[in-house]
């Protein structure tokens, strides 16, 4: 049984691109489950993780499920804190307009500071 009333800061750190490996998809599953525990949940997208949020994913040709719409559904689960590393976008020729969901773009340093404030950091 979980401890009644405990609210911890959980950060899910996404650093991997979708489809090439399963980490992004399976990590999203635990993010959705975490919503049921009434914790203070945030998602951070760094490095190739920013590609998870790229608009216009068409996965028919690789016979994979396009799970990118799920990111747009997160606010329905009260998961609203999505942070994206600016340096990661810049390095990949992307801007905030390329992303399929509203996010907060911040510098590596700001993200690092936020990471320090977490109780639990889950990385995949």
């Amino acid at each position: 049984m979980s401890e009644e009333g405990v609210v911890k800061k959980f950060m899910f750190v996404n650093r991997k691109a979708p489809y090439g490996t399963i980490y992004a998809l399976e990590s999203l599953e635990v993010v959705l489950i975490s919503a049921a525990f009434d914790q203070d949940v945030s998602l951070a997208f760094l490095d190739d993780g920013v590609f998870q949020l790229k608009k216009g994913q068409q996965t028919k040709g690789i016979e994979n499920k396009n799970f990118s719409p799920t990111y747009r559904a997160l606010d329905g689960y009260d998961i609203e804190k999505l942070y994206v590393e600016k340096e990661a976008l810049d390095a990949r020729g992307l801007t905030e307009d390329d992303l399929l969901v509203d996010v907060t773009v911040m510098s590596s340093a700001e993200l690092g500071k936020l990471m320090e404030e977490q109780d639990v950091v889950l990385s995949f």
Partner: protein, 99 residues
Amino acid sequence: MLHIVNKSPQDRNTLDSCLRVAQAGGTVLLIEDGVYAVVKGNAAESKLKAALGKFKVCALAPDVDARGIADRVMDGVTLVDYAGFVDLVAENKNCQSWL
């Protein structure tokens, strides 16, 4: 905060990402193939030297030994055993594995 890096700096950008994001004053622990970053004269040496000014840098000794690089460890890097790894996790508020 404890940052755990397990990739060789020659193979992946994980150490770069960690050093870019991690806040000064934290600890960086190199494990598994991450320990290759501590080899004197390796291409990532200058990065790690710069990191030594900002972070406590540790490497997991059993991983260093296993890879035959125990005699090449850069000055300033602290070698820890698994008990030391456990202590680092316990004494830091949280930890991030840079997978």
